[in-house]
């Protein structure tokens, strides 16, 4: 199983810090799971121009191919202007319409205000559903007060991250098993 963490912003540090904690939690609890963290701040991404994802080169090609090869993806996103960042939306635009078919996708949201709590439900989940993701319905929502000096200090957030990691793995295992059994029935 390969799980890719995607920190979906080029600005700020909260999402990256929370995603690093998520990947750490995953690899401690599930050493057999291969993990990778892609922080979009580290990559020079092109805007989608409509081509097949295989036709992108450089960082854009690397990020799209790595996501397409993953069994599960944990998406970390801040909330900008009451929505997901353009950098993250661009990732969705770069991928094919069925990109998340047979993949589990879970979410972690950081925000400056708890008033943005519904943004993932109203804006991120519809995109993931359209792209055929199996979603971990419960996401982790982290606000400014949960951080101090570039660290998460709210233990409840850390416990929720642990549960997110666990749910992502369990759901991926479950859907993989169901799919394998179903595919074996076809006998071709």
């Amino acid at each position: 199983m390969k799980i890719v963490g995607l920190s979906g912003s080029q600005i700020g540090s909260k999402t990256r810090i929370a995603m690093t904690a998520t990947i750490k939690s995953l690899s401690e609890k599930y050493p057999e799971v291969e993990t990778e963290l892609i922080d979009l701040a580290d990559y020079k991404m092109e805007f989608s121009d409509g081509r097949n994802y295989l036709d992108y080169e450089g960082d854009t090609g690397y990020v799209t191919k790595t996501l397409m090869e993953a069994d599960a993806i944990v998406i970390g996103t801040p909330i900008f202007q009451a929505s997901i960042p353009a950098a993250l939306k661009n990732i969705f635009d770069l991928l094919p319409v069925n990109a998340f078919r047979d993949k589990v996708v879970s979410m972690l949201v950081t925000a400056g205000s708890a008033k943005h709590y519904m943004v993932a439900d109203t804006q991120l989940k519809p995109i993931l559903a359209y792209m055929k993701a199996q979603m971990v319905q419960t996401f982790v929502f982290v606000v400014e007060e949960d951080f101090y000096q570039k660290e998460i200090i709210n233990h409840d957030v850390l416990l929720r991250i642990e549960r997110l990691a666990e749910d992502t793995v369990v759901l991926t295992e479950t859907f993989t098993k169901i799919r394998e059994e179903k595919e074996a029935e076809y006998d071709f």
Partner: protein, 352 residues
Amino acid sequence: MEKYRINPDNGLEFGIYTLGDHLPDPATGERISAQQRIQDIIEYAGLAEQAGVEFFSVGESHQEFFATQAHAVVLSAIAQATKKIKIASSSTIISTSDPVRVYENFATLDLISGGRAEIVAGRASRIGLFDLLGYNVRNYEELFEEKFDLLRLINENEVVNWSGEFRAPLRNAQVLPRPVNGSLPIWRAVGGTPASAMKAGYAGVPMFMAHLGGAASTFKRTVDAYRDAARAGGHDPDELPIATAGFFYAAEDSQQALKDLYPHINEGMKRTNGGGFPKQLFAQGVDPHNIMNIGSPQQIIEKILHQHEVFGHQRYIAQIDFGGMPMDKLKRNLELIGTEIIPAIKKYTAKK
């Protein structure tokens, strides 16, 4: 229809196309050489002709896992190796070629083959060739529309006066040689959506509709949109042929057909398109109303006749060789096509 060398009284035409893909056989993991693949395609066309197949076409794709980038050259060898089968491209990416050169090639092909050449012009689904051939992908649509119009203009007029954005103007330009009967059948490749079909319809150009899977009735909307657009553009839909093209595989029974074909499609699409074909959708391919023609010869006959009833099309084109399909399986398919499928289709669709 005469202009397009189609006589509806002869019933639904049965054709075969190859994208010219060059992929490993998933059963062995081995890939034949590009030379062998090209020789196989030429042989495949000859065997198709012997089996009574009426049309054979070769695609142009400029990327890894393909071998017929120079598809007109391959078609020229096929023209020499065959006597009566119609030969065409599927498709020629007109957007990144000079229509004058394309026309010269295919008119020459028509002379070599004794009047059997046709052009199917498309826009390319993968766009690496824009960089390779020096075009800007931002002009994806404009390049196609301008060059396709010019290609048709050359087809209708021996002397051309033309100017456009993407090519030097032509002043009293004579494009030679001319085809055997003065003009070539030129089709527009359509990806299955009504929007794309309507462009062919408005221009009054024959439609070559490629499809993956799904209910035949879904594609009927595309066919209707094409004919409505043709009427709106002042053309008579009864004079415009329609071809449909998609996956085909015949075996003893449908389960065997699924088993033989699935790994080729799934692995091949992963490599050429970046995503496999879900088993659930593929299993539905044997359904009588599904547009994929997979099953026993009898099931396929019923499917093709159903499609003919729904679409009223003039030509069906089967893709069998995708994804490293070995020659022996292609030969077995041609045998079933020649001995069972074509005779039945002709029996029910040809006017006595």
